[in-house]
């Protein structure tokens, strides 16, 4: 009984992890960098929602759900711009450099964003009024808070939208082409620099959207980013780079593992458990469980 409840909780949060991880994997696959500032983009998305709801005066009550949900597109758009500029202004200078330098640069960006957020909003955790955390849906004895269900559906929708975009649109095909072979893509007339910036924008946007939902069901604070970046890394390693279904399964699984750890061992151990899992996984099966091997994804 308790196990089912923990697993359900984990699945609900796991979808958000998956959405964040998909953006992280997209940048790794297409631009070829590990973006250590990814979690900070999620944090910014969370603050967009927090502030818009605060300005609209709608914290608490049934109506605020709609206000909060209306902020999601704003967060998506705002973070798209942030991501696009980040690629154009900073990351583009290191895409061909040592992987280590890209890690350091993105870590530098993450520190700047985090500290600016502390200056702007203080380190106090904020959340969008808990008023609509209930009522819960009760299904076979398992409690499902409505807002978590909404966030779950929203996160899955964002992931599927991104997937559809990459599969069906012309720009999506260009992105996949750049991921596979930037040189060849350039030869057939694709603007590689622009495509990479668009990819970065999309990645940031989906992280920002996920951040909106995190602000609704959990809370946001300036230093939350790193944990999400690392979770994304765990999920991508688990699911295999370049595999969106892999990221979804990985996210849901990580969410469940964390909730089970929190439930049975104590919530202060979640990070230790998921990271120990990561190290074991890296040693045992570095190519991930789904999709192609990570090496191919690097190109």
């Amino acid at each position: 009984m308790a196990v089912t409840q923990f697993v359900v909780n984990g699945l609900l949060v796991g979808a958000l992890f998956a959405a964040v991880a998909v953006g992280f994997a997209l940048i790794w696959g297409v631009v070829g960098i590990i973006n250590l500032a990814h979690g900070e983009l999620l944090m910014l998305g969370g603050y967009v929602t927090y502030w818009l709801v605060a300005f609209a005066g709608g914290s608490g009550g049934e109506g605020s759900v709609w206000i909060a949900l209306a902020t999601v597109p704003v967060a998506l758009a705002a973070l798209y711009v942030v991501g696009y500029l980040l690629q154009r202004l900073v990351v583009t200078h290191v895409t061909d450099a040592d992987l280590f330098l890209t890690l350091l640069v993105t870590f530098g960006v993450s520190i700047v964003l985090q500290q600016l957020a502390i200056q702007a909003w203080s380190a106090t955790p904020r959340s969008v009024g808990a008023g609509f955390a209930d009522p819960s849906v009760v299904l076979a004895g398992v409690f499902i808070p409505k807002i978590k269900l909404i966030a779950f559906v929203g996160a899955i929708a964002l992931t599927l939208l991104l997937w559809g975009y990459l599969k069906t649109t012309r720009r999506g095909r260009a992105i996949r082409a750049v991921a596979q072979n930037p040189e060849a893509a350039r030869l057939v007339g694709i603007d590689v620099a622009h495509t990479r910036a668009v990819t970065f924008g999309l990645s940031a946007a989906i992280a920002g959207g996920a951040g909106s939902f995190v602000a609704m069901i959990l809370s946001v604070q300036p230093q939350m980013g790193l944990a999400y970046t690392l979770k994304s890394f765990v999920i991508v390693v688990f699911g295999g780079l370049g595999s969106i279904p892999g990221a979804l399964v990985g996210g849901l699984l990580l969410g469940s593992v964390e909730e089970l750890t929190a439930g049975f061992v104590g919530s202060q151990w979640t990070l230790a458990v998921s990271f120990s899992l990561l190290v074991v996984l890296l040693l045992v099966k570095p190519s991930g469980l789904f999709g192609r091997s990570v090496e191919e994804g690097e190109g």
């Binding site: 070829g32 590990i34 900073v90 200078h93 290191v94 061909d96 450099a97 040592d98 992987l99 280590f100 330098l101 890690l103 350091l104 640069v105 870590f107 530098g108 960006v109 993450s110 520190i111 700047v112 985090q114 500290q115 600016l116 200056q119 790193l226 690392l230 890394f233 390693v237 104590g266 202060q268 151990w269 990070l271 230790a272 990271f275 120990s276 990561l278 190290v279 890296l282 040693l283 570095p286 990570v294 090496e295 690097e298």
Partner: protein
């Protein structure tokens, strides 16, 4: 610096810059001796209080940056978790001092080997990974260390440990200076021996080094443990110096980024670079902290981004490159080529580093 430089006997045409670098490199031991002597004299010349603390901080970061560089710069395995050894050292000393009633010096001395033991266990796992996987796995080790320390009993949990009966400030000054001097000597010696060359060979092309019959796992692990030894010592001394250890400060994630930046600004893969970078950046951070309190981390982030974009080889690396280039123009191609081949280890390695960039990105588990 591994350079037994050829430019010293290259005639009067050599540029003053390269001649200076070569002279400094040839007399590195003498230079180290003079600097240590000057450092040792500073407190007797009236350095005290706030300024003494600043200099101590410079020594601490110099040891940290140089330790990181043994693995990150010389071997090419960028660790984002070196502060785990620091925290281990700090807690070892704190527990020995407070709970076991051990004296200060033995407690600090033990901190190094304890950190080495931890490094051996961790290294056997993470040193099989490369590039970004290694970086993130080590970052994970650091975060897990924080969480474990916070959640177990004997470390004092999240509230940490407060230490009393600490030696006077001058004692700490000499302890940190001694650790830095010993480590610099070890690094200087090693970069001029086979051990140092093998580390650079691993950085440049680990596959080829393995194919040549070198047991790269042995060398990687040895460098990793050496790095942990000095980090553990400095952490142990720092714990007592700070009179307080808790998970957040002993395993300081911000410091981990700072020390990498220092090594990089000064010049990764050299001996002088990380030390100079640490001295410079520590001073800069103190200044920013005094003028704009609360903004030092923002400044640090901007410094990191600017360094990587503008000076990816660091100050020492850039100077060396410029010196080599100027020799090339003044001496003509042949002589310059000769110089390059005689440079041995790191400068030549730096040139090849570009070619091996993609190897760094290879996420494969290295064969070990």
């Amino acid at each position: 610096m591994s350079r037994e430089s050829a430019s010293a006997d290259a005639g009067p045409e050599t540029t003053s810059l390269s001649r200076l670098l070569a002279a400094l490199s040839d007399r590195a031991w003498l230079l180290l001796g003079i600097l240590v002597a000057v450092g040792a004299l500073l407190p007797t010349l009236g350095l005290s209080g706030f300024y003494l603390t600043v200099v101590v901080q410079m020594y601490i970061f110099a040891v940290l940056a140089l330790s990181w560089d043994l693995v990150g710069g010389q071997t090419g395995y960028p660790s984002f978790g070196n502060m785990a050894f620091f925290g281990f050292g700090a807690y070892t000393t704190a527990i020995l001092l407070k709970d076991w009633g051990v004296e200060f010096f033995p407690a600090v001395l033990v901190a190094g080997p304890i950190a080495v033991g931890f490094a051996l266990v961790i290294g056997l796992a993470v040193l099989r990974l490369r590039g970004g996987y290694f970086a993130i796995a080590t970052l994970g080790v650091l975060l897990v260390s924080i969480q474990v320390t916070r959640n177990v009993e004997f470390t004092g949990g999240a509230s940490g440990k407060i230490l009393f009966d600490i030696p006077p400030e001058n004692t700490f000054y000499y302890v940190f200076l001694a650790i830095l001097a010993v480590e610099t000597a070890v690094a200087l010696y090693l970069t001029r021996t086979r051990f140092g060359y093998v580390l650079n060979a691993i950085r440049d092309d680990e596959g080829r080094a393995t194919a040549m019959g070198i047991n790269t796992t042995y060398y990687k692990t040895a460098a990793w443990m050496l790095s942990a030894l000095f980090t553990g010592w400095v952490g142990g001394a720092w714990g007592a110096f700070n009179t307080f250890v808790d998970p957040q400060t002993a395993y300081n994630l911000g410091w981990n980024v700072e020390l990498i930046t220092m090594a990089l600004i000064g010049g990764a893969g050299t001996v002088a670079g990380p030390i100079l970078g640490a001295f410079g950046l520590t001073l800069a951070i103190f200044v920013v902290d005094t003028v704009f309190p609360g903004w030092q981390l923002v400044a640090l982030g901007l410094v990191i981004v600017a360094t990587v974009l503008l000076l990816p080889d660091g100050i020492v690396g850039t100077l060396e490159e410029r010196a080599t280039a100027m020799e090339y123009y003044e001496m003509g191609g042949e002589a310059a080529a000769e110089t390059t081949s005689e440079m041995g280890g790191e400068a030549a390695a730096e040139e090849t580093a570009d070619a091996t960039d993609h190897d760094m990105g290879d996420p494969e588990v290295s064969d070990s």
